[in-house]
Symmetry: C2
Subunit: 193 residues, 2 copies
DNA sequence: GAAAAACATTGAACAAGTTCAACAAACGCA
DNA sequence: TGCGTTTGTTGAACTTGTTCAATGTTTTTC
């Protein structure tokens, strides 16, 4: 049983050692090289993944070819296009490895098995989805009410470890601004110090 | 058993008539006059509500006093501050009735009872939270990639019934723009026709 | 270790959206 | 019916952020 996954689960629900092991056995490990894709637009998301090592970006490409990053997923995060995975329909998202990564993946069929046999797993994913939803609501509010400058500083404060692992272009795509403008913000902030 | 609630549930999971009735019995009806609050900032969200009639707005007020609308909840929608309700902590949202409204409310205690006794209810709320999360992701992407003009037109197309029930100020707060700018957009669109 | 590709910076012109102020229209209510 | 409050409109000046193009720097890749 993987420790990172065990702790991730234990943070939300309590499961017996036996159930944890059975749930764990429904996953299989998989490696993703940097720049390879966990999921591409048009594909049906066949697996949900738990990141053991590495870093992914989950993003959308709009009609003009501009990328919007929904979130970054380093170690201890889950990756999937929920809509595509749940409803078995083509995804409109990309999930790309930004570093060589290790992931525990579970298929749709095995996840349904888990839901069927372990009510606590159903609860686990209800609670996790609620938390990510609350976080997204907060981000929505921030995007509507704060300036890019402030959002950048908040991002640095919230994800200090990611700062060194991401290019400024990626951060700009997360903040919803052009990378040139982010460069100007950085310049301005540097001068202020 | 209320028909609207029955259909809302049946859209996501299947429950026996008996279970539906037992779940339904955990709710109590409540009336909200126009301009009264289902929830105010600082309060702990004690109930989750299912709107039978009327219309609510769920919004946040930022440091400058500017309101950001997270969503509007007409008939057949659920209202709550998930974060406050789940974790019993003070809310930072307001939920206000924009029309005289009727709501079925369920307390935190009764909802826990439902989760405990009916696994299908746990599944129901997992699925509903997933759907609202997917919808919010889409809105996030739209806000990052589309112009206010386009977002306004999308809003009208998506919620044609709400258009007549909301002031332009409310719609502007949902779109994340000033009401003056919305007025200019409307003027421009009217001229184009 | 060199060439190519991706990334970061800067400036100038531009577009999108805000703010403030003034006024008109509609609504709620006594 | 009328009076006060909220809502909608418009214009001018302003701020925030974009686009494009040029230049230098760092990373990849073979």
């Amino acid at each position: 049983m993987n420790q990172l996954l065990r702790n991730n689960i234990a943070r939300h629900v309590s499961l017996s050692e036996d159930q944890l092991q059975q749930f764990h056995d429904l996953f299989e490990p998989r490696l993703f090289k940097k720049k390879s894709y966990f999921l591409s637009e048009g594909q049906i998301c066949a697996h949900e993944g738990f990141v053991l090592k590495g870093l992914f970006r989950v993003y959308h490409v709009d009609a003009n070819g501009v990328e919007q990053v929904l979130y970054f997923a380093p170690e201890d995060w889950w990756i999937a296009d929920i809509d595509s995975f749940s409803n078995q329909k083509p995804s409109n998202l990309f999930i790309e490895a930004l570093e060589d990564s290790e992931v525990l993946v579970i298929s749709r069929k095995n996840k349904d098995l888990a839901y069927e046999h372990f009510p606590a797993i159903e609860k686990l994913f209800r609670i996790m989805t609620q938390k990510t939803h609350v976080a997204l609501q907060r981000r929505m509010i921030d995007n509507l009410s704060k300036t890019a400058d402030k959002r950048y500083q908040d991002f640095l404060a919230k994800y200090p470890d990611l700062y060194n692992r991401l290019s400024n272009r990626q951060i700009a795509a997360y903040l919803g601004i052009s990378h040139e403008f982010l460069s100007k913000i950085r310049n301005k902030l540097a001068k202020e110090k």
